[in-house]
């Protein structure tokens, strides 16, 4: 179990007092306090982490219910605190990185604002540079609203991505995408220009060609990744969320070299040793 959760459990229960007093105590800008009060729910049948969280939820919600039934009228701050418990459904609200600027409300809530997932990625996928600019960094808070996946997401999950024959790597935010297809488009966007430039320099055609067929082995390149156990894997076998939770870095390799990718890890380690 995550040590952070262990740390939170006892403190959270300690914080539930009997009377109404704690509602006023809620009006703090202290992130720590908010962190402690944030409850999370994982998906049903989730792992140990989440069942612990759920148990916390039960007790606090029962308390909440009792307190609520006692009073009919609630002030705005009370509403906020109440909803801080109820605001989280099937994914944990953000924890460490988000600090509210103007409001004391806790972090973003699942499915709010009610915008469908395909409308949420506009800032990242749009190539337009006009209007409000929202850089990739701002995606931290987009991850758990309106997207069709239900499992927990970390915010701003940037992993390195390198491409064969391109010396410069890039970083890609996996939480900006819901599927392998979207990721493969992103790879195309990130590397098309660089690849063309690289070919130009090395005397080949400098014309930009779309990088396609990354997932089915039919293209010139194939997308692979390194998982949390250090193994080199082909992208696309496991469900998207499972992939996101285990991926450490990405690599776009030449499809022709797939058989030699078995030795890829070794050569990489050798390089490291040499340095």
């Amino acid at each position: 179990m995550d040590p952070r959760n262990r740390e939170i459990c006892p403190k959270l229960l300690d914080l539930i007092p009997q009377g109404r007093k704690w509602y006023q105590e809620e009006k703090i800008n202290n992130t720590d306090q908010e962190k402690k009060l944030e409850l999370r729910l994982g998906p049903p049948g989730g792992d140990e982490d989440q069942s612990t969280m759920k148990k916390i939820n039960i007790e606090t919600r029962n308390n909440m219910k009792q307190q609520q039934q006692q009073q009919n009228i609630k002030k705005e701050s009370e509403d906020k605190s109440f909803h801080c418990f109820n605001g989280n459904h099937f994914s944990p609200s953000n924890k460490t990185t988000y600090v509210p600027q103007k409001r004391t409300a806790p972090g973003p809530v699942v499915g709010w604002p009610p915008v469908r997932s395909f409308r949420k990625n506009l800032a990242s996928t749009s190539s337009s540079k006009l209007g409000n600019e929202s850089s990739h960094g701002d995606q931290i808070n987009k991850s758990d609203g309106g997207e069709k996946q239900v499992e927990p997401k970390k915010e701003g999950m940037f992993v390195k991505i390198n491409m064969d024959s391109v010396p410069i790597g890039r970083k890609v935010d996996l939480n900006a995408y819901n599927s392998y297809e979207q990721l493969s488009f992103a790879v195309d966007k990130l590397f098309r220009g660089l690849l063309a430039a690289q070919r130009d320099i090395s005397g080949g055609e400098g014309e930009e060609k779309p990088i396609i067929g990354l997932l089915d082995g039919k293209g010139e390149f194939t997308l692979t990744y390194e998982d949390n156990e250090g193994d080199k894997m082909l992208v696309g076998d496991v469900p998207w969320q499972m992939f996101v939770s285990s991926v450490k870095r990405l690599r776009v390799i030449k499809s022709s070299e797939i058989s030699s990718s078995l030795t890829f890890g070794c050569s990489k380690q050798e390089k490291k040793i040499r340095h």
């Binding site: 049903p44 939820n57 099937f90 409001r103 699942v110 469908r116 190539s127 309106g146």
Partner: protein, 623 residues
């Protein structure tokens, strides 16, 4: 006729009504279906005009000839309740069936009652499922429907699904079973991929409409465009803007070239501006165009660029324009030649600044439907108000959909629209700041409003000028907009707002509530005061058991009730379930380990003629 059967009024965009079978006629259904195979005794009881068959036949022939002119569901439902004879004839002549909740009845019941169905509209998951409030694999499977209809309706022509789970196998079965199949429309669906689409494209030789709208389509790597048969097609509408998979452009160009009846074409993000240009040159008869990416494939050309404006100029019939998925703003002026004809414009994927926007909108005098991102700012909305006097529907989506984002539109934009677009009927408006005054102004200036959906993105935000709750604003909307049927509320709201809704919202059919209200009284006002309420979706609001019990007289007359993150107890839900046997009460997300837990995470309940469904996943408990 049931006394409490309310007269069904039309919804904004989805013509929703109660399912075709109400509880009384279900009883009739059973009775009559048994009588058809029956003993003479039973058939005599069944027919009011009995003993002589001659008048029956005449009457039924006449009825059949008359009833076939009845299109409206509302009228047909009413006609079917006149008497058993009418019921039977109506069932024989109904060719289009609408089912607002796929779990309200079983597919078998459908095929037993209606014998000559050509068109089916079927809706599955509740709307809040779109916003991650429901785990995946909850249900709404198309499979049992398609397999039952495959045997019962071989002449089926049209299937229109919304929020259903459709697999490639389902699509394959569809393509195989219905030789005359003409229209497939999938809205907000998932579970299938390009291989399923390919099968439909290939086998449905009479296909007129293939519309994939806001659906999740897996890229199986299949070149489905090439799967359309050779020769002239009957295609009239092809929409694949949600398909995130590359398209074989040559095949598409060929397809468009041999589809002389093609009027609507919606391209996906992977079709570039140059490719669009080529398509336009080949299809000047288009009336509705989704422009794809509206950006260049390759690096900017040094050679002569295609004359995009000329291509648009040639499309004299285009009245509906959308797409602009990856817009390169410098090319936006190419659409100017068609602007004055446009009745519908969708910029909601394009981050357009006010400066780029204003020259375009100034030409769109005929615009009736306009969707955009808030990047056009209040300034852009003022331009819309100044030009688009015929505007009926407006939707402003947030470019940056977070609670703490800046919010470039506000009450100023809303006020301007209300003053300029007096014929407004439907509005969806995302913003960060709003005032009661602007909402009140809209209620007074736009009496035709039937749909008012305001989303103030920061939870519990009050009127940012007065600091007061938004009660008066929404109160004015329900009071003054006498035709209002759909309402979505937001911002800081007390029970007073709900009191207004219960008092004035007599035509409201759909109500969306989030983070609002103070107590059970709020929900009680609505349940007791809104007799037409059909669809109620509530999240994160302090409504508990007392409120839930207040609605028991209504739940059989509603399509569904959704309540998530509300303080409901399982005990109370069980009581409701026990008291109302034809109501399916689903509790979603219960912890399996803890059946004793009394708290209900999500309640989703709906009336059903066939009891609890048989495809319940682990995380759903039916009480």
């Amino acid at each position: 006729m049931t006394q409490d059967r309310t007269e069904m009024s039309e919804d904004d965009d989805d013509n929703s009504q109660s399912p075709p079978l109400d509880l009384r006629s279900a009883a009739i259904a059973d009775h009559c279906s048994s009588s058809s195979s029956s003993t003479p005794n039973k058939s005599r009881n069944c027919m009011a005009l009995n003993s002589q068959t001659f008048p029956d036949h005449v009457l039924e022939n006449v009825l059949e000839n008359v009833l076939q002119f009845l299109d409206s569901r509302c009228d047909r439902n009413a006609a079917s309740l006149v008497c058993k004879s009418w019921w039977r004839v109506e069932a024989l002549t109904r060719s289009e069936v609408f089912i607002g909740n796929c779990y309200a009845l079983s597919p078998t019941r459908l095929t037993q009652r209606f014998k000559r169905v050509k068109s089916l509209l079927l809706k599955g998951k509740p709307r809040f499922a779109d916003f991650n409030l429901m785990p995946p694999d909850w249900g709404a499977n198309f499979a049992p429907w398609v397999s039952t209809m495959a045997k019962a309706y071989p002449w089926l022509e049209k299937v229109d699904l919304k929020r259903m789970f459709v697999t490639d196998d389902d699509l394959a079965l569809l393509a195989d079973s219905f030789p005359g199949f003409k229209e497939l429309i999938l809205v907000c669906c998932e579970g299938f991929g390009t291989s399923g689409i390919a099968i439909v494209a290939n086998k449905c030789r009479k296909l007129k409409v293939l519309d994939l709208i806001e659906s999740e389509v897996t890229d199986d790597g299949v070149d489905w465009i090439s799967c359309f048969p050779e020769g002239v097609t009957s295609l009239e509408s092809l929409a694949f803007d949600c398909v995130e998979a590359p398209i074989n452009f040559e095949a598409l160009e060929g397809l468009v070239g041999r589809s002389p009846f093609l009027k609507k074409l919606r391209l996906n993000r992977l079709v570039s501006l140059e490719e669009l240009h080529r398509l336009l040159l080949g299809a000047p008869q288009l009336t509705s165009l989704g422009t794809g990416s509206f950006s260049h494939d390759n690096a900017p050309q040094s050679e002569q660029e295609p004359d995009y404006a000329a291509a648009f100029r040639a499309c004299k019939s285009v009245v509906c324009l959308s797409g602009f998925r990856d817009l390169m703003p410098e090319y936006l002026p190419s659409i100017l030649p068609v602007c004055s004809n446009l009745t519908s414009l969708n910029f909601s994927y394009a981050n357009i600044s006010p400066d780029m926007f204003k020259p375009i909108i100034h030409n769109c005098h005929r615009l009736q439907v306009f969707w955009a991102l808030d990047s056009i700012c209040d300034e852009g909305l003022q331009a819309v108000a100044a030009t688009c006097k015929e505007l009926r529907e407006l939707r402003i989506f947030p470019f940056d959909p977070r609670e703490e984002s800046e919010g470039p539109v506000s009450e100023l934009g809303l006020q301007a629209i209300s003053e300029g677009c007096r014929n407004l009927e439907s509005i969806l408006y995302f913003c960060q700041r709003m005032t009661n005054a602007a909402v009140i102004a809209m209620s007074e200036n736009c009496p035709e409003l039937t749909v008012f959906r305001l989303c103030i993105m920061g939870r519990h935000r009050p009127d940012h000028v007065t600091g007061k709750p938004m009660d008066e604003g929404f109160g004015a909307i329900v009071k003054n907009c006498k035709k209002l049927t759909r309402l979505a509320i937001s911002g800081l709201l007390t029970d007073q707002a709900f009191r207004y809704m219960g008092e004035h919202g007599k035509l409201i059919r759909t109500l969306s509530v989030a983070f609002a209200g103070d107590s059970d009284m709020a929900l009680r006002h609505v349940l007791e005061g809104c007799p037409r309420l059909q669809k109620l979706e509530i999240r994160d609001s302090p409504f508990g058991d007392v409120a839930l019990r207040c609605g028991m007289h209504r739940y059989y007359n509603m399509r569904f009730v959704w309540m998530s993150a509300c303080p409901l107890s399982k005990g109370c839900c069980k009581d409701v379930a026990r008291a109302m046997p034809n109501l399916v009460v689903e509790v979603i997300g219960s912890d399996d380990d803890d059946d004793n837990r009394d708290y209900v995470e999500t309640l989703y309940m709906y009336r059903s003629l066939d009891g609890p469904r048989n495809d319940v996943p682990k995380f759903v408990t039916i009480l």
